[in-house]
């Protein structure tokens, strides 16, 4: 295609975006828009799938049948979310197996929060409340993302996600009002997950390489720092209500901005974990790789069975 044509198409494309007209799979789109979306959606899908691991860790040790049923349902939801997202990436021409292999080779990233271990039952509370809470903060604006299939997947995900946060908060509420040992366990989980949860929104705006273009394309509707602020403002009163202490000495209400000022985030830790040096990076990717390798014969057997049956039918 001639360069002048592409310029014209890009102009038309941006005009559509500016008018809030959704982009659908077969519509023309700039290569960079497609690439950005494939990267973001597949990372998002990987996060859902890897996110099953820290919680799966506690299914067999849930304290009672109700908690176990709830946790199972939540983990099953995450698998579903992964599927919606892989499907959305496929509408852009991404090869699903290739995106999964990119996760396994370390080329593709996933949310760094899942590289932290879940050490106690209270961590199930902290993960549901904080991690799913932060995810919701991120995902609600994505329901209005300019790319139709991604936005529609997000609508479905958000509907399901709100029970995830509530069940986590319920676990924390219960522990925080229990024996002193239980309360201590809740506070410990909160202490360990608070800062990594804040890091989930990604680098601060000044250091975020993709934000500006993604905002122009309406893939993103808020900057990382805006979302992080919304999360802090929503979560602090919830912690106070159940009697947990925010592990941040610099946290204080700012009457001018009508929001909380919070302490400095340890970005060095963030980049270390993103770079593969978190406490569980290797364990997580190994688990995913093993799942694919161990399941390979099932995938092949099912396909062979289907082919045999369809051959019989047509014979």
């Amino acid at each position: 295609m001639m360069e002048i044509d592409i310029k014209e198409l890009e102009k038309k494309f941006q005009l559509k975006i500016d008018k809030d007209i959704r982009i659908e799979p077969n519509d023309w789109m700039p290569d960079a828009y497609r690439k950005t979306l494939i990267r973001q959606i597949s990372q998002h899908a990987h996060s859902e799938v890897v996110g099953m691991l820290p919680e799966g860790n506690w299914i067999t040790r849930a304290p009672n049948l109700r908690r176990k049923a709830v946790l199972l349902a939540k983990v099953q939801d995450e698998a579903g979310h992964g599927l919606y997202l892989y499907s959305a990436a496929e509408t852009l021409g991404a090869d699903r197996e290739q995106t999964i292999d990119d996760l396994h080779s370390g080329k593709a990233k996933y949310s760094s929060i899942f590289n932290y271990p879940t050490l106690s039952w209270a961590d199930m509370g902290a993960v549901g409340w904080l991690v799913d809470g932060a995810a919701i903060m991120n995902q609600v604006p994505l329901c209005r993302c300019s790319y139709g299939p991604y936005a529609r997947a997000m609508v479905r995900v958000c509907k399901e996600e709100s029970f995830h946060q509530r069940q986590g908060f319920e676990i924390m509420t219960k522990l925080a009002s229990g024996t002193s040992a239980q309360k201590e366990m809740a506070q410990d989980a909160f202490n360990r997950f608070w800062w990594p949860a804040l890091m989930m929104f990604g680098p601060s705006d000044a250091d975020s390489s993709h934000t500006e273009q993604s905002m122009r394309w309406k893939i993103k509707r808020h900057t990382n720092d805006e979302l992080r602020q919304m999360f802090v403002d929503a979560t602090v009163p919830q912690a106070e209500l159940i009697g947990l202490t925010i592990p941040d000495q610099d946290l204080k209400w700012n009457t001018v901005k009508e929001g909380y000022d919070y302490g400095a985030i340890n970005w060095d830790e963030f980049w270390q974990v993103v770079g593969g040096n978190g406490p569980c990076n290797k364990e997580r990717v190994d688990a995913r790789r093993k799942a694919k390798e161990d399941g390979k014969w099932v995938v092949e057997a099912a396909m062979a069975f289907a082919q045999k049956r369809s051959a019989k039918k047509s014979a």
């Binding site: 579903g80 496929e90 995938v299 396909m303």
Partner: protein, 96 residues
């Protein structure tokens, strides 16, 4: 894994309740139609979203080309007389 062995893609349509039409909800991969229905049940109807499922191999769907959108749909735009609001109804007539 060899390309040819990958499970095919299916489009999923769900009827949410009796009296409504099936609506496209998404897609999934499955080795055959039976598995596609089972997976669709697990993935798309976990919260009573449906009472009936259709699955269609994605490569059996023929779609209109968005580049022809204008020529394909324009004739409808210019025929306003197809809408009841095009016609004047005299005062005094309440329902027509």
């Amino acid at each position: 894994m060899e390309k040819s062995k990958e499970w095919p893609l299916w489009e999923v349509f769900i009827r949410s309740k009796q009296g409504l039409n099936h609506k496209h909800v998404g897609s999934l991969r499955a080795s055959d139609a039976t598995m596609a229905i089972k997976n669709a049940r697990d993935v798309y109807t976990r919260r009573s979203e449906g009472i009936s499922i259709w699955v269609v191999p994605s490569n059996n769907i023929t779609a209109s080309d968005p580049n022809n959108e204008d020529s394909l749909f324009e004739p409808a735009q210019s025929k306003v007389y197809r809408h009841p609001t095009f016609y004047d109804v005299p005062d005094g007539i309440s329902h027509m």
